[in-house]
């Protein structure tokens, strides 16, 4: 009898002939998530078993598994021989001390000599005889002892199903570049895309010395938190200080933010192409701020050819906050460090900037050399 963590996966079974590919990636992702903790991963049909693991760190393993996309559910259980005595011994350890219970059996191995009902009845009966405090209630039991008869003469016995994150294993759905600020939204946007299997690379724009090191450090912290889900452990940063200064000096004040965002998109696209990313991802949500109106979004889209994915576009702030809290980024996002400097903020930013006006104003700047200069400030932080 051996302690194991049983992992069932979601959605991958839909993938027909590509299933092997998805399963390999899923298994790799589990390996990455459990890096640094002793464990073995075994694949059985429809399940993964984490075995031979550092039992003192069981809670940590469970926590890490809870953050892996593609996990449908997981259970801490026992792996044993599938003869009745062995199953009973394991069931004794999984069963509660007292209260109502039932045994529920699933036969993965259809050649097993007993039916599911028969196994449940026998194990339930022996548990009752063993412990008089227990009572059977097949309709609304307080506890359930699950018996899963597997191929190869093995059985899995466990007491609970913990719901996983669902979604698709990351790195099965292409690569995107997330524009991450220190705010609440962008980490959530990254999480959403990772949930659909995307590999989410990270890019952060700063304007030191107008913003401070603490603001940048905050983004590194957010990136680390996000990496539990995305498994990406690298952040690229680029300075847009000079671009902000040039816009401020030369262009209409109400277009400050609009113009800056166009530069950010241009720079992001170049970095995306270098990193093999096929799209940009942002945390924009329609109408949330002046630059996130339809006109604002259009003006940013106009300078890039790559698709821009905005998974939060139809979300209310409170929906976004709820996810940020769930994934643990909210607290860090709300630390009081400015991620863009108010020195350059216009009193009234343009809400519906016209593309023709934007392009006219932009002609006052040497776009190409500003972009190149910003790209040369690129730094890569690995964590």
């Amino acid at each position: 009898m051996e302690k194991v963590i049983i992992i069932r996966y979601a959605e991958i079974h839909l993938k027909g002939k590509n299933r092997g590919y998805f399963e390999r990636i899923f298994s790799n992702n589990l390996e990455k998530a459990l890096k640094g903790i002793r464990h073995e991963i075994h694949r059985t049909s429809g399940r993964y078993l984490i075995a031979d693991f550092d039992e003192e760190r069981t809670d940590e393993i469970m926590l890490r598994v809870s953050k892996v996309f593609g996990v449908h559910s997981y259970s801490l259980g026992l792996l044993t021989e599938n003869d009745e005595d062995s199953i009973f011994e394991a069931a004794k350890r999984v069963a509660p001390q007292s209260g109502t219970f039932k045994v529920e059996t699933h036969r993965g191995d259809k050649h097993y000599p007993l039916t599911s009902m028969e196994i449940s009845a026998r194990i339930g009966g022996r548990l009752l005889a063993y412990d008089y405090e227990l009572k059977v209630d097949v309709h609304t039991p307080a506890h359930t002892v699950y018996v899963d008869i597997r191929e190869g003469g093995r059985a899995l016995i466990f007491g609970t199903f913990v719901d996983g994150l669902h979604g698709m294993p990351v790195s099965t759905a292409g690569r995107g570049l997330l524009l991450i600020s220190g705010g609440i939204d962008s980490p959530v946007a990254g999480y959403m895309m990772a949930k659909r299997g995307m590999t989410v690379e990270l890019l952060h724009f700063h304007s030191y010395p107008y913003t401070n090191e603490a603001a940048k450090e905050k983004v590194v912290t957010l990136s680390k938190l996000l990496s539990d889900y995305t498994l990406v452990t690298k952040l690229t940063t680029v300075s847009v200080t000079h671009i902000q200064e040039e816009i401020h000096k030369n262009c209409a004040a109400e277009l400050n933010v609009t113009l800056l965002r166009r530069f950010m998109f241009r720079i992001a696209e170049r970095i995306a192409l270098r990193e093999g990313a096929g799209c940009l991802v942002t945390g924009e949500s329609l109408g949330q701020v002046a630059s996130q109106t339809l006109e604002g979004l259009t003006s940013s889209n106009a300078v890039v050819r790559l698709p821009v994915l905005r998974p939060l576009i139809g979300f209310d702030k409170e929906d976004i906050v709820a996810i940020a809290k769930k994934i643990g980024t909210f607290e860090t996002s709300t630390l009081p460090y400015e991620d863009c400097c108010t020195v350059f903020l216009p009193d009234f930013p343009a809400i519906r900037p016209k593309l023709s006006f934007i392009e006219e104003e932009e002609k006052k700047l040497d776009i190409e050399s500003l972009v190149e200069e910003a790209l040369s400030s690129r730094e890569v932080i690995r964590f």
Binding site: Y208, P209, Y210, N212, E245, H248, K249, P336, C341, V343, F344
Partner: protein
């Protein structure tokens, strides 16, 4: 790098560190231990205590309680002596006093804050008008850590005692100790000091207590420091403090005169169209506070750091808030408050540094203007 943030902390004095090293090697014993080694450490520690007292001409008149920092000394003074009625302090206090006084509200004691003048100093009348028969404690900062304004605490203490002799008088002397010539008159009951502002280490402070004044401990335990402050003494930190102070007090007078000249030299070299002066001429020679009006002090601070000049913006302890509470209390508007920069010196400051710093301040502020206007 030119280091002009000595009011935040100073570089620890190398010689003092070396001399004190014996307390981490052969003299590592617990000063409370009853055997020879413990006694030897205790004896030396008490000699240092006496030496520190002597710098304020306070031997025989005051006790010195070693604490972990100036903030702890301030807190002990306020929570020990501000137990009833009201406590009078100023709007120009360091957060260690200001926040502690605010906390008194939760303990049923009324804090009263006297307004400060434009330069951060407080008038005797402003204090006296708040003192009444129920005032248990008055606490007035000696040197304002943001403007450098010096309060005549001897005169204030005398006036307070004349109005209510039962009132305890405390002063936060963190920016004054070792910098401003001072010997507390008997009307000053408590005086807080800190080691790391004069070449000592962070983690060491002290509270001068007039003999005969009953003080309750802030930290309970093994009864060290005559029961006034439990916890094994930081003997190494205390030794560095004593050695650094010994050196500092030796040159106190000449440092004062020289740094005053430097301070004026720096201010007169600054571009008058950009900078306005916020610290008074009769303030501490150790610091000059100006405002680059309409600019963002914090941004200038980082730009200057990158160019090799380290300055402070207001109080480093409250830099998470946009405007300094103390500078706001002085009555300045947002544009002045935004641009506050504090240059603070040490005996190691040189004339060349002053000239170079002035040039850097002028050119950096102009660059900021060019880039943001």
């Amino acid at each position: 790098m030119i280091y002009f943030d000595n009011a935040a902390t100073t570089r620890p004095d190398g010689e003092a560190l070396q001399k004190a090293a014996q307390f981490t090697t052969e003299l590592y014993f617990n000063p409370s231990a009853k055997y020879g080694g413990g006694f030897a450490v205790s004896k030396q520690m008490n000699a240092m205590r006496e030496a520190l007292l002597a710098h304020l001409n306070a031997v025989g008149k005051y006790d010195l309680i070693f604490t972990s920092c100036g903030t702890e000394a301030d807190n002990q003074a306020i929570f020990s002596c501000g137990k009833r009625g009201n406590v009078v302090t100023t709007a120009g206090e360091h957060a260690a006093v200001y926040s502690a006084c605010n906390e008194l509200k939760n303990r049923g004691v009324e804090p009263r804050f006297a307004p400060v003048e434009r330069d951060g100093s407080v008038k005797i009348e402003s204090i006296l008008s708040l003192v009444d028969e129920k005032t248990s404690l008055v606490s007035v900062v000696h040197v304002n850590n943001e403007t450098g304004a010096v309060n005549d605490i001897a005169a204030i203490a005398k006036a307070v005692k004349a109005k209510n002799p039962r009132t305890v008088f405390h002063s936060d002397g963190v920016q004054a100790f070792g910098k401003i010539p001072f010997a507390p008159p008997p009307e000053v009951d408590l005086y807080s000091v800190s080691a790391h502002k004069i070449g000592g280490l962070k983690g060491t402070g002290g509270l001068f207590k007039r003999k005969g004044l009953a003080l309750s401990p802030h930290i309970y335990g093994g009864g060290q420091e005559n029961g006034q402050r439990s916890g094994t003494e930081n003997t190494f930190g205390i030794a560095v403090f004593a050695y650094a102070a010994e050196k500092k007090f030796k040159t106190l007078k000449e440092d004062e005169i020289r740094l005053k000249t430097y301070r004026e030299m720096l201010f007169s070299a600054l571009d008058g169209e950009i900078f306005v002066r916020l610290s008074p001429e009769n303030g501490s020679p150790y610091l000059l506070t100006v405002s680059a009006v309409g600019m963002r002090g914090e941004v200038l601070e980082r730009m200057l750091w990158d160019r090799g000049l380290c300055v402070g913006t207001g109080s480093a302890c409250s830099s998470k808030h946009r405007f300094s509470r103390v500078m706001t209390a002085c009555g300045y508007g947002e544009r002045v408050l935004d641009g506050v920069l504090r240059m603070s010196f040490s005996p190691a400051t040189t004339e060349e540094e002053i000239k170079e710093a002035a040039a850097l301040l002028n050119s950096t502020a102009k660059e900021f203007q060019r880039n943001t206007n």
